[in-house]
Subunit: 368 residues, 2 copies
């Protein structure tokens, strides 16, 4: 084993990608800050028992765990930050008036990678609005996500909405399904398997067609006769979409379910031109307090690594080579004017070796 | 156990401290970037065998370790980032022309806390210049540290220099000491124990007096008759100090040794007004390549938590409450003008509940 190798799923971010990632994060969270979202920075490790209770079951299993020599308890490194923000909102900020608006950014670690995402260390960035999951709250959280991506220069953003609890609402309302068959129905609808849905619960067939560009899909969903069971959700979606028209492309896939198992009425995936796969996701959900009380919340997470890897966060790398013997005051003046100065520390150093684009000559930057 | 509790040595950073820490980091590394220091972001975990070889022995023992189900090898969470930057410089950037300038910021984790620092998760920020440990290199790295702290608004900075290999140089030169007694001598000099030093190696006694304000201590060290063995070090210190005169307070404690065991000719501690204990440290050191070759380097690390805890990175918390029903374009105009807007999402929400300092009334911010 050479020390140059890292374990599968881990990697070092080198120049210029680490700078690109840092600037992306600053731009994203700077924009969210302007909407009142202040940062929380949860501990990297906490008691496994506490964390597991707040995580999806699958995620808790994937956390890196170790025995704490101080407490003799098992600690876990966070595999997700949303659960930690929920913990903070429910405990130390439990008495803060609602809604609480928090943002966060940091590394998360998984013991095992999934087939879809081979990385085991990822950078998670997001915002959570805790205390409300109303249409107004959902509108704001989607607006903040879109504004943050715009501020970071991420173009061609599109949002795909879904209604995670749609089948539950219909099965408990106008179109009953045998309890044992709900999971199969969900799965077949998610797979757009018309044959299986027709055999299982034909009333649900129109849902397969109610996916695609937002307005068309929304029209079809409105035409779907559900006896008013979906009216509040459809109105909500419409109001959220209204604020985004002309700024981002919108689609609707009401039975998309994968990864939204823990969302309540609203879920959404975020995509950007030039990036394969989603760059973020969000929706409404529930956090649980110490006393068992539940509280509504909405939020989103962005996957910085995907955005940086796609080259959507490029940084300016103009670098000015400062020859040996230059008056330090001249170099300082160049920095004050916005230049990155790279000082030669030995006579043999060259602008090429220091990856410089300019060289200081006669007190002026000269392009190379 | 309540889930509100975190393990000893871990804590959540809440508003406004997490924002303060993020801005401090941006300011520090933004200033370093202007000197050509680009960011590297090493993996949070790596093979323990590789990491341990690059860490001080004590630190390797204190790393959080776990078995990787993929490789079946033991992985370690980094307890320090400097060693990782050395690894990157020696391996993936091994063929990059020297010097290599890198900056970094991120969490580090310790399995056990020390008596001096009870925290087990800390945020480490720093810069490393790899390939040189000349006076010019040392001048630059100290200059970058001072410029970064100035950019971040940290006032009353002082730097305490030391000469970590001083005793080795003297013992192998003008003032031989029995090998078995060198460690005792170092320890007694560090403790300023004149009686013990007089009994052990009286030639070293003047070193105890050669500590204090930089110029006086430097004069005494120059007067100390070491047959020229210290001349290059003393010249180097003088040149480094020259560039800092009038900007930061300088002291010299040539036999200060604690924590500098792995530095070569130069070490320094950084202090700031209002903060108990050091806020950073740095110096010259050696990194080791895969083939065993050694390479000189200089660098510094800053302890962001200490600076934030001392309130030296306060953030502006002006927040503008935007009542229900306000035209979204008006709120957007306020954000564009630099305001943080906090929208009421329900009729009952109040500026007080949202910790706002201003409220939007008749299209204008009104102070509360």
């Amino acid at each position: 084993m050479t020390t140059a190798l890292l374990p599968t799923g881990f990697h070092d971010r080198l120049p210029p990608f680490a700078d690109a990632a840092a600037r992306l994060e600053q731009a994203l969270l700077g924009a969210a800050h302007a909407y009142g979202y202040e940062r929380a920075d949860p501990a990297l490790a906490e008691f496994e028992a506490g964390l597991a209770g707040r995580l999806k079951a699958a995620r808790a299993q994937d956390a890196v765990r170790f025995v704490d020599p101080v407490s003799q308890a098992t600690l876990a490194i966070r595999p997700d930050m949303t659960a930690q923000i929920g913990r903070i909102a429910a405990t130390r900020m439990g008495h803060h008036p609602r809604p609480v608006r928090l943002s966060y950014a940091g590394p998360v670690l998984k013991l095992r990678a999934s087939q879809l995402s081979p990385e085991r260390e990822m950078r998670q960035i997001g915002c959570e609005l805790i205390g409300l999951d109303t249409i107004a709250a959902a509108r704001e959280i989607v607006e903040v996500a879109v504004a943050a991506l715009a501020a970071a220069g991420v173009a061609d953003v599109s949002i795909d909405f879904t209604l995670p609890d749609l089948i539950d609402v219909l099965a408990n309302g106008p179109f009953p399904v045998e309890p044992g068959q709900i999971d199969t129905l969900r799965d077949r609808l998610d797979a757009k398997d018309a044959g299986a849905v027709a055999a299982l619960a034909p009333a649900y067939l129109p849902l397969i067609e109610a996916a695609g560009p937002f307005e068309t899909a929304h029209d079809r969903l409105c035409a779907f006769d559900a006896g008013g069971a979906l009216t509040s959700r459809l109105d909500g979606l419409w109001q959220i979409a209204e604020g985004l028209k002309g700024r981002v492309a919108l689609t609707l896939d009401p039975t998309e379910r994968h990864g939204f198992e823990y969302q309540s009425w609203l879920g959404f995936s975020i995509f950007a031109g030039g990036v394969l796969g989603e760059i973020g996701r969000g929706g409404s959900y529930t956090i649980v307090h110490e006393n068992g009380a539940e509280e509504a919340a909405v939020g989103f997470s962005l996957y910085a690594d995907a955005i940086v890897a796609a080259g959507l966060a490029e940084v300016d790398r103009r670098r000015l080579f400062v020859p040996v013997g230059t008056d330090p005051a001249v170099a300082a003046a160049m920095r004050a004017a916005g230049w990155v100065t790279v000082a030669a520390l030995e006579a043999g150093d060259t602008p090429e070796a220091q990856v410089c684009t300019h060289v200081l000559a006669d007190g002026e930057p000269r392009a190379l």
